[in-house]
C-alpha cells in the first residue's frame, strides 16, 4: 500500500491538478483565439461527462478499454519493453471473443468465461510472439509489434469476413446472448448506457497489476529484468523467458480490453477500416500514469473523460473538433511534462519552506 500512499501524498496530487488546470487554460486561450467561448465550452464538457446518468455511464464505458490498454503498455514498460503493439493485441482479443461468442452456443456460465479466456489468450499469444522474437532472435519489439498490428488488423478482418460474416453486412453475426457481458440492471440504472462487466474486470486488473509486480516473486523477476537485465542474469533469472512472460501478460491485458468491447459494447465485430486506436491511446495513458497501476487508472479516467466529453464542447459551444484536440493535447502535454509544472510551482514551495524555517 506504499504505492497508494506515494501517489496520494500532497505534492504528487498537487502537480497533476495544476497541470490539468494549466492545460485547460492554454486550451481556453486557443478557443478565445478561435472566437469560441471557453467557459461555455468547458461547461458543456462537464455537462456531457457528468450531466446525466446516461453520459456518465457512457464515459465509464469509454474509459474502460483505456484502463486495459494503459495497463498493458505500463506492464511491459516495467519490464523494460515498449509494447507499441497493444493495438494489435486488442484486436486479437476482440477476434478471439467474437469467434467463441458467435460460433459456439453454450450455457452462460461456460460461454462468457470461455469467450473472455480465449480473447485474453489471443491477445497474450500475439504479444508473446513479439517477446519470443525479441528473446530468441533479438528482434526489436517496437518493430515487430508495429508489424503485427497490421497483421492483426487484416487477420481479424479476414476471420470476420470468412467465417463470421452476417450476410450482406460488413460485420460478424451477433454474439450469442449467453456470452454477452452487459450488466442489465446497471444499464437500466444508467439510463441505457452500455455498462458491462469489463469495467469491473479492468479495476480488478489494476489490483492484479500491483500484486503481480510488487508482491510476487514473478513480479520481482519482471522488475529486475526491467531495471537491469545484466543483474537479473547474474541473479540466475532466465531473462529471455521473463521477456516472453512479460509480453504475454501485457498482451492479456490488451486482449481483455478487446474482449469487452465485443462482449460488452457492440455484440458483434465490424470489418475494421482502420485500427481502433485504443492501443495507441494506451501509450498516452500509461505515460500519464507514470506506469503505476493507480496512475494508469487515473490517466485513463482523464483521457477517456476528456475525449468522451470533448463532443460536448462541439455540441454545446460549437467548438470544432480541431480546437477540441488542441485542448486535449495541451492538458496531456502539461500532465506529461509535469517537470514544467514543478518548475512553475517551485518558487511557491520555496516561499512556503522559508516561512516554515522562520517559524522554526
Amino acid at each position: 500500500m506504499e504505492m497508494i500512499k506515494k501517489i496520494f501524498n500532497k505534492s504528487s496530487l498537487l502537480v497533476p491538478l495544476v497541470s490539468i488546470l494549466l492545460g485547460l487554460l492554454v486550451g481556453a486561450l486557443a478557443m478565445l483565439a478561435g472566437g469560441y467561448d471557453p467557459l461555455l465550452a468547458y461547461g458543456s464538457l462537464f455537462k456531457r461527462v457528468f450531466g446525466s446518468s446516461y453520459h456518465m455511464g457512457e464515459t465509464i464505458r469509454a474509459i474502460t478499454p483505456l484502463i486495459f490498454t494503459g495497463l498493458a503498455v505500463a506492464f511491459a514498460f516495467r519490464t523494460g519493453l515498449f509494447n507499441i503493439g497493444v493495438e494489435g493485441q486488442f484486436i486479437m482479443g476482440m477476434t478471439g471473443a467474437t469467434l467463441i461468442g458467435v460460433l459456439l452456443d453454450l450455457p452462460w456460465y461456460l460461454h462468457g468465461p470461455l469467450a473472455i479466456l480465449t480473447g485474453a489468450l489471443f491477445g497474450g499469444l500475439w504479444a508473446g510472439l513479439v517477446g519470443y522474437l525479441k528473446a530468441k532472435r533479438g528482434v526489436n519489439e517496437v518493430i515487430s509489434s508495429i508489424m503485427l498490428n497490421w497483421t492483426a488488423l487484416y487477420l481479424a478482418n479476414y476471420i470476420v469476413t470468412k467465417f463470421l460474416l452476417e450476410p450482406g453486412q460488413q460485420k460478424s453475426r451477433n454474439v450469442h446472448e449467453s456470452a454477452l457481458m452487459s450488466i442489465d440492471w446497471l444499464v437500466q440504472l444508467m439510463d441505457k448506457a452500455r455498462m458491462h462487466w469489463g469495467t469491473f474486470v479492468a479495476l480488478a486488473c489494476v489490483l492484479v497489476f500491483y500484486i503481480l509486480l510488487w508482491r510476487t516473486k514473478q513480479g520481482y523477476e519482471l522488475r529486475a529484468v526491467g531495471h537491469n537485465p545484466d543483474a537479473a542474469l547474474y541473479a540466475g533469472m532466465n531473462v529471455n523467458r521473463t521477456i516472453v512472460k512479460s509480453m504475454f501478460i501485457s498482451g492479456v491485458f490488451a486482449g481483455l480490453g478487446g474482449v469487452f468491447e465485443i462482449l460488452g459494447v457492440f455484440g458483434n465485430q465490424t470489418v475494421l477500416a482502420a485500427s481502433v486506436g485504443y492501443g495507441f491511446d494506451g501509450i498516452a495513458v500509461a505515460l500519464l500514469g507514470g506506469n503505476t497501476p493507480i496512475g494508469v487508472l487515473l490517466g485513463a479516467v482523464l483521457f477517456g473523460g476528456l475525449s468522451y466529453g470533448s463532443n460536448g464542447m462541439s455540441f454545446g459551444a460549437g467548438v470544432p473538433s480541431e480546437i477540441v484536440r488542441i485542448v486535449i493535447g495541451s492538458v496531456i502535454f502539461f500532465v506529461a511534462a509535469h517537470g514544467i509544472v514543478k518548475f512553475i510551482l517551485k518558487p511557491l514551495k520555496l516561499k512556503r519552506s522559508d516561512k516554515s524555517k522562520e517559524a522554526a
Binding site: 523494460g80 477500416a273 505515460l287 468522451y308 463532443n311 480541431e322 484536440r325 488542441i326 502535454f333 506529461a336
Partner: protein
C-alpha cells in the same frame, strides 16, 4: 534515460495531437454554399421550431465526401427555413450511439446517421426512443421511426462506365474501391456493366485497398494501374480516393494522359478539370435536404427509399461537358433513358 525517453515520447504525442488538429482544414460551420456566388437565401422561418442533428462517421465533417455533403445540405436547410442544425463527429464506432443519443435526448426533431456503419446504432437508439425520429444514409434500418435512404449507385456508375468505355484510348480501365462492402460492390458492378455496354473490347481491372481513409494506399493503387497502361481510373474509396487524384495530378504534370472519375460529389471542383474526367454524383445532399424538409413541411415518412436515375439522385455533373465530348454525352443520355424506362436493368452486384 527511460524517463527522458518517455517524456520525449509524450511530447511528440501531444504535439502531434495538436498538429494533427491544425492540419485538418477549417470551414466547419461555414461549409454550405461554395463561395459567395449564390444569391442570398431568404429564410421563410418555417423551420424555426425544428432542431435537426447529424452524426458523422469516423471520416468527420470535412471528409470532402458524403459527411460533408450531408452537412452542407443541413446548412442550406437552416438558411432556408431557420431550422437549428448541429453535427457531432464520431471518433470511433463506439461514439456513434452516444452521439445519436445526445441529439435524441436533447429533444431534436430529427437525427441523421451518415453512413452504413450506423446500422446497429440507429436501430438500437430508434427502438429505445420510439418517439424520436431518425434517418440514415446508405443503410436500411427496419424501424417505424427511421427513414432509410439508399442510392442506386449502380445506375450512376453505369453511366460513368459508358463515358470511360468510350473515351479510354488504351481500352484499359481501372476501378479503385475502398472496402469490399455491398455498397461499393454496387459501384463496381454498375461501372463494369457500363464499360462493357459502351465498349465490349475494353478491359476493367478492379482493385480494393481495404480502407476509406488512406490516401497513400489510393495513390499507390493508382500508380500501379497507370503504370500498367490503364488510362482512366474510377474510384469509389472516399478519402483513399484523394490519393488517386494526387497520383493523376502528378502524372498529368509530366505530360501523361490519365484521367480520374470522381465519386459522390463533383470532384472536379476540388481536384480540377485537368484530371477529373467526370464524377459519379450521389445526391446525398439532395436526399438529406429532401427528407429534412419533408419533416418541416409535415410530410415525414419513415421506411426505405432507393433514389436512382429517375429521381436525379445519381448521375453526372454539369461540369462534365468540359472534358467529355458532345457525342459521348449524347450516348450517356441514351443509356440513361433506357435505364429509366427499364429497357436496361443494371446489375447491382
Amino acid at each position: 534515460m527511460k524517463k527522458t525517453a518517455s517524456l520525449m515520447l509524450m511530447l511528440v504525442l501531444s504535439i502531434s495531437l495538436v498538429l494533427s488538429a491544425c492540419g485538418v482544414d477549417k470551414k466547419n460551420n461555414n461549409g454550405g454554399s461554395q463561395g459567395g456566388s449564390e444569391p442570398e437565401v431568404v429564410s421563410d422561418e418555417s423551420g424555426k421550431d425544428f432542431k435537426i442533428g447529424m452524426v458523422t462517421d469516423v471520416g468527420g465533417v470535412n471528409d470532402r465526401s458524403f459527411n460533408q455533403s450531408a452537412w452542407e445540405a443541413l446548412q442550406r436547410l437552416s438558411k432556408e427555413t431557420s431550422a437549428e442544425t448541429k453535427f457531432l463527429e464520431s471518433k470511433g464506432e463506439a461514439d456513434m450511439e452516444p452521439n445519436l443519443n445526445n441529439f435524441v435526448r436533447e429533444g431534436y426533431s430529427l437525427t441523421w446517421g451518415i453512413g452504413f456503419l450506423f446500422t446497429d446504432a440507429i436501430l438500437k437508439v430508434a427502438n429505445e426512443n420510439p418517439d424520436a425520429k431518425l434517418a440514415v444514409i446508405d443503410a436500411v434500418v427496419d424501424a417505424p421511426n427511421v427513414a432509410s435512404v439508399t442510392f442506386a449507385e449502380h445506375e450512376g456508375s453505369f453511366l460513368v462506365g459508358v463515358v470511360a468505355g468510350l473515351m479510354s484510348e488504351s481500352k484499359k480501365i481501372g476501378f479503385v474501391g475502398g472496402m469490399e462492402i455491398p455498397v461499393i460492390k454496387r459501384f463496381e458492378a454498375g461501372f463494369v456493366a457500363g464499360v462493357k455496354a459502351a465498349n465490349p473490347d475494353a478491359n476493367v481491372k478492379v482493385v480494393y485497398t481495404g480502407t476509406f481513409d488512406k490516401p497513400d494506399q489510393g495513390k499507390s493503387a493508382a500508380a500501379t494501374l497507370y503504370n500498367d497502361g490503364y488510362d482512366i481510373v474510377f474510384h469509389a474509396a472516399g478519402g483513399t480516393g484523394n490519393g488517386v487524384f494526387n497520383e493523376a495530378i502528378e502524372r498529368k504534370k509530366n505530360g501523361e494522359k490519365v484521367w480520374v472519375i470522381g465519386v459522390d460529389k463533383d470532384q472536379s471542383l476540388e481536384f480540377g478539370d485537368e484530371v477529373t474526367l467526370t464524377s459519379m454524383m450521389k445526391g446525398v445532399d439532395a436526399a438529406v435536404h429532401k427528407i429534412s424538409k419533408d419533416l418541416i413541411d409535415g410530410n415525414w415518412t419513415s421506411g426505405t427509399q432507393e433514389l436512382g436515375l429517375k429521381d436525379d439522385a445519381v448521375g453526372l455533373p454539369e461540369t462534365s461537358k468540359k472534358n467529355v465530348p458532345e457525342d459521348v454525352l449524347k450516348k450517356v443520355d441514351e443509356f440513361k433513358a433506357k435505364i429509366i424506362s427499364g429497357e436496361i436493368v443494371v446489375p447491382g452486384e
